[in-house]
Symmetry: C2
Subunit: 284 residues, 2 copies
DNA sequence: AAGTGGTCTAGACCACTTT
DNA sequence: AAGTGGTCTAGACCACTTC
């Protein structure tokens, strides 16, 4: 039969190009491909670009994550249920979810289910914070906000955030301290459209990582980021904020964070005092 | 690992603790677990620590890689052949190899087979070199060796390389340049035992990344590394080598590289001039 | 006991490469 | 045509969590 009319939500991946078909000697001999070619099609425009079934399922699940059908921290439907919904085998759903778990979009817990990833979690706190104390266990720093304002995006900021020069952005400047030792000076630029309503008050009263606030209050989850790091000398302004001498070497980082669909939603420029801390990285 | 008598070369994982057993109505009803309790035991000491079959297979394959049974760049046996050898299904071998591929120990090529990963490859050249030009395409730098000598490991070096203070190490100092612009000053310490016979001549005459030489000439492949990064000021010595003013901010990296079995085999301390380059990182 | 993810098997077919 | 990895299915059982 291969029925499953292409209803929105739980749409039908339809017949794929690859494998599948009938098992050894099971029941119905599997209704041959039939007409209605183009399975979902997408992407590059020209060549139809078929993709494996599990990739299509992965895309469908990602859409549900992005649309907020399942919210951060919540349980998503079980593999069996998703398999029924999409009319594919559990193994195919499993492979799709495996990749989503590898990308930290969801988290599997044996016996419980699969959960939408969230920044409200000890595990997630250090995913984007790579500054570690030389000795002792990592702690999350305290924030002190220096400035929060609306402004128009300068050319360089606009380019990195995929905006037009002059578009509205929110500008935030803060100092972060580890145990009363000021260590980080950070400036951030956020698209005004995405973070409408973000005020200094909201920021100050919020406890924990900023990404948690973005996720809960603005429905925007950071999925991945790219970072460029260099060494610089502290200028007078930064030196004053960190209580150090001007000219002290600092580690400067420029980070662009992305949500679903590789959409950039944050530019962050930080300067780190690396006298009692270091940037930790794993090369694999 | 459970049963698997530790005989080198193709052993039989025999019955595992987990799943498996007979299919629907196949042949033999699968010889039940039988006696023979304590399965080899390992690790944490107390609890026997069973591991899934595919993890055992993965360990066996890793042993063959480590022992040099299959050398870097070579083809390893096909999934079907490994499945026969280990008396497991192809799917189980596949899952084992999937993980090895994710860890960059092997590389899969559809239609051709699975190859042992090697540093002699364009792809691999930039896996550990994260310093990118601000503009233009990445290039591999030229090396100029400043010093190569044998010495006894100082306490800090010994600790990081898992050696005893005073053990023999090889010390290398070099400057690397991008298009005649000196950019990197590096010092390296290598265990003397592992790299016996490494001379300045070998280093100078060798073209390409040093890891390629370590792999080919000393049978030691770098598998992963950890890095600590901070900002420092150039001292007189480094400033002279890089043709910059003393006090120029530099990015300082301390990297420890590991081979199979998480054995540390290289300590590298580098200082990078980040005026036309930056350290690039992806956060996932 | 029921539900969920985790492991394992056996078999089919596809896409790609080589002979 | 044969061989290899890549995809897909269907069904079994295990480990863990919850009721």
């Amino acid at each position: 039969m291969n029925p499953v009319p292409p209803n929105p939500n739980s749409s039908s991946p339809a017949s794929s190009a690859g494998g599948a078909a009938g098992a050894s000697a099971g029941s119905a001999p599997a209704s041959t491909p039939s007409a209605a070619g183009a399975p979902a099609a997408v992407a590059t425009g020209s060549s139809p670009t078929f993709s494996p079934l599990y990739q299509q399922i992965k895309a469908l699940i990602t859409q549900s994550l992005q649309s907020g059908e399942w919210k951060p921290g919540e349980l998503i439907p079980s593999e069996v249920e998703l398999a029924n919904r999409f009319k594919v085998s559990q193994g195919t759903v499993r492979k799709a979810i495996d990749e989503l778990a590898a990308e930290n979009l969801v988290m599997r817990k044996q016996g419980k289910g699969t959960f939408v990833a969230t920044h409200h979690e000890a595990r997630a706190h250090f995913r984007f914070l790579k500054l570690m104390p030389d000795e002792g266990v990592p702690h999350y720093p305290e924030s002190k906000f220096i400035e929060v304002k609306r402004m128009r995006a300068p050319a360089d900021v606009a380019r990195l955030l995929d905006l037009k020069s002059g578009d509205a952005v929110i500008y935030i400047k803060r100092v972060q301290s580890f145990g009363s030792v000021p260590t980080i000076v950070e400036e951030m630029w956020l698209p005004g459209v995405t973070f409408k309503g973000l005020t200094a008050e909201r920021l100050v009263e919020y406890k924990g990582p900023m990404y948690g606030l973005f996720e809960s209050e603005f429905g925007t989850r950071m999925i991945r980021a790219t970072e460029k790091i260099r060494a610089v000398c502290a200028d007078d302004g930064v030196a004053a904020l960190l209580h150090i001498a001007a000219g002290t070497p600092l580690l400067a980082s420029e980070r662009v964070s992305f949500t679903y669909g590789d959409k950039p939603v944050e530019l962050r420029r930080g300067q780190y005092l690396t006298e009692r801390h270091h940037y930790h990285n794993e090369l694999n």
